[in-house]
């Protein structure tokens, strides 16, 4: 069973760790603990692809949200098979940090699939269709309005990204 590295990036406090913990451990905590440096999680999942069930091992790199020096971010992202960019729906200025992170991923991991998580859907309204379409057009990404708290759309986002990594097709979650 082949392992794939997936990096999870985004501004601080947007819920990167919570999303990963929801997917890997199916738990959620309201208490905020900042990630320093990088934290690694491993998860084995079964992905339906081309009519068969494929087992895949994911090593998820939960990367610190504070701006990192370019060299350090490069080291973290090297060799990743895909990335998830996380944004916080409650923040009025959500788009700009997400765009920065997604641009970084595109530059360092060209051709690798990107998933975009618009997180905290449980406490904020969904964005307008035009904003979602703009992100989708710009990055060709999978987009999901997620809630790490309720678990809405979280496993699907990771699984659809994995499908793309494995070469399958997946649409908007």
């Amino acid at each position: 069973m082949k392992a794939h590295k997936v990096i999870v990036v985004g501004d601080f406090g947007v819920g990167k760790t919570s999303l990963i913990r929801r997917y890997v451990l199916d738990v959620f905590s309201d208490q905020y603990r900042a990630t320093l440096g990088v934290h690694l999680y491993k998860h084995t999942d079964t992905i339906p692809i081309a009519g068969t069930e494929e087992q895949v091992r994911l090593v998820l790199w939960d990367i610190e949200g504070a701006p990192l020096p370019g060299e350090q971010m490069m080291r973290y992202s090297l060799g990743a098979s895909g990335a998830i960019v996380v944004g916080d729906l409650t923040r009025p200025d959500m788009a700009e940090p997400m765009r920065r992170a997604a641009d970084m991923v595109e530059a360092r991991l060209p051709g690798r699939p990107i998933g975009i998580a618009l997180n905290k859907r449980d406490i904020a309204p969904a964005p307008d269709d035009a904003s979602v379409a703009a992100l989708k057009d710009r990055y060709g990404a999978l987009i999901a309005c997620t809630s790490a708290k309720t678990g809405d759309a979280v496993p699907n986002l990771f699984r659809d990204l994995t499908k793309r990594i494995l070469g399958g097709k997946a649409g908007t979650v």
């Binding site: 392992a3 091992r57 090593v59 790199w61 080291r75 090297l78 060799g79 990743a80």
Partner: protein, 519 residues
């Protein structure tokens, strides 16, 4: 006679008259009967009509009411029709007015069209005059162009003629592109002939460029090359120091306490690893786990866990691999990107993790116990072994850690129980071990032989710049020398330096000559 005829005629008339009379009387009687029947019928009809007239009164009233309703509806419809007619009249008047306006506009447009047509006609007349002028100029220019083309063709022919003369006169001073085309067809044949007739000169002329190219390629692919030759370099170094280490081991063994011999004997007799006995007796050095990691991504490529560590709680190997890659990244970043900053060892709970790396891979060994002095060089060896095994079929264990742990010389940290029985047991175990390790001795001989072949290559300075490798072919059970040498003479010299008969396994040459032949 005439009278007789008249009488006869009269009689006939009377007879006919009588017949007619009878017929008339019959008809009158029939008419009278018919008259009676008609009267009776008339009377019956009258009676029926009277009865009908009596029942039709009610119907007539109903019909009258319906007629009145229909009349009212008709009057209403007529009023609506009248109103619609009035509206239509009004609409008609409005349309007539609009039509008048349209007509007026059409008239104005017509007038403008006429004016424009007149203007265009005037312009066309002017343009026709200009076109005629242009046509005259065009004809004149065409004639001139034709004349110029004729001259150009003539000049081109003259130039081609001159070029041909120039090419014949002095090829070196000619256009390089033409020169290449001129020479190319003959060049291959010329090189082949030169290779046959002036082989040494050709080799000495071309070899520096080939070597220069190879060097450039080596510089461009430094990382891949380092990884590829690392086991070979290691083999060279190892072969040089193996002998010294063996001598040293022998001397140390003489002075060592008997604990290790006892453990080894226990291992042989019970089937349990000697390291297990030592682990039980003391704090032995054990490689618990080996991981080969992709340096950039931290993805685990292969791993192996010793049976000595089976059942113990161990960190998840995928997470550990990622963590090690990240740590190595920090170290490289902190100490520079030259590769000198690689982390070689760190402690993790009660274990020590030894690290070795190539530009693309990392080998991590999670060990416990007191490390022997030669641990660093043994870890170097293991990296080479892991890389070689990874390049193979990928099957089996990464490093065969249990064999390694069993073979690892371990200092248990002091003598104990040095008894006569112990010495005897140790001696017996040594004999068993000697027989058991016969295969390893053979392997050591082959390793030494590879080193001696490499020394034979290194002894000829002509071969120094050429890529030559020596490896053991497991399938053919042979030592294979492959690569490139400059010429036949160098190859013969190499063959003479190899002691074919002394080798424990056949030696095969897979060598290409720069001059083109293969051996």
């Amino acid at each position: 006679m005439r009278l007789e005829a008249e009488r006869q005629r009269l009689a006939e008339l009377e007879e006919r008259s009588s017949t007619l009379r009878e017929m008339l009387e019959a008809q009158v009687e029939a008419a009278q009967q018919s008259n009676h029947a008609l009267k009776a019928e008339n009377s019956a009809l009258k009676n029926a009509l009277e009865a009908q007239a009596n029942s039709g009164g009610a119907k007539a009233a109903e019909l009258e009411a319906r007629c009145e309703a229909l009349a009212a509806d008709l009057a209403e419809r007529m009023a609506a029709e009248r109103q619609q007619q009035a509206e239509l009249k009004s609409l008609g008047a409005s349309l007539r007015a609009q039509a008048d306006v349209e007509r007026e506009t059409a008239r104005a447009l017509e007038a403008r069209c006429e004016a424009l047509a007149a203007q265009l006609t005037e312009q066309a007349e002017t343009d026709a005059a200009a076109a005629e002028k242009l046509s005259t100029i065009h004809s004149s220019l065409t004639r001139e162009a034709e004349t110029a083309q004729g001259r150009a063709a003539k000049l081109e022919t003259e130039i081609a003629d001159l070029n041909g003369r120039l090419a014949d006169a002095d090829l070196a001073s000619y256009d390089p592109e033409r020169l290449r085309k001129f020479i190319a067809p003959a060049l291959t044949g010329a090189l082949r002939d030169a290779g046959h007739e002036h082989q040494d000169e050709m080799v000495s002329a071309i070899a520096p460029y080939i070597i220069g190219t190879v060097k450039t390629e080596i510089l461009n692919s430094e990382d891949e090359l380092v990884e590829a030759i690392q086991p070979r370099i290691g083999t060279l170094i190892r072969s040089a120091i193996t002998q010294a280490v063996e001598d040293l081991n022998r001397k140390v063994d003489d002075a060592l306490p008997v604990d290790r011999w006892i453990a080894s004997a226990k291992g042989r007799l019970t089937g349990a690893p000697a390291a297990g006995w030592l682990l039980e007796d003391g704090n032995a050095f054990v490689v618990k786990e080996a991981m080969l990691i992709e340096r950039q991504s931290g993805i685990l490529l292969a791993s192996e866990r010793s049976t000595l560590d089976a059942g113990a709680t161990a960190p998840d190997e995928d997470l550990m691999a990622g963590m090690i890659a990240a740590l190595q990244g920090f170290a490289s970043e902190a100490y520079g990107a030259t590769g000198a900053g690689d982390l070689r060892r760190f402690s993790f709970t009660e274990d020590t993790v030894y690290l070795r790396g190539t530009p693309t891979k990392l080998l991590a060994l999670r060990c416990s116990g007191v490390a022997p002095p030669e641990v660093e060089s043994r870890v170097d060896d293991l990296l080479e072994t892991a890389l070689v095994r990874m390049r193979g079929d990928g099957g089996g264990d990464l490093l065969m850690l249990d064999d390694f742990n069993r073979a690892e010389p371990v200092d248990a940290g002091g003598a104990s129980g040095s008894t006569i029985a112990g010495y005897a047991l140790a001696a017996a175990a040594a004999v068993v071990a000697l027989i058991w390790s016969h295969g390893f001795v053979n392997n050591a001989h082959e390793t030494r032989w590879i080193a001696s072949v490499e020394q034979a290559i290194a002894g000829d300075t002509r071969l120094t710049p050429y890529p030559l490798t020596v490896r053991r072919d497991e399938n053919d059970a042979a030592i294979v020398v492959s690569g490139l040498v400059p010429d036949e003479a160098a190859l013969k010299a190499l063959e003479q330096r190899l002691d074919w008969n002394a080798s424990p396994v056949p030696i095969k040459l897979d060598i290409a000559l720069v001059s083109g032949a293969n051996r």
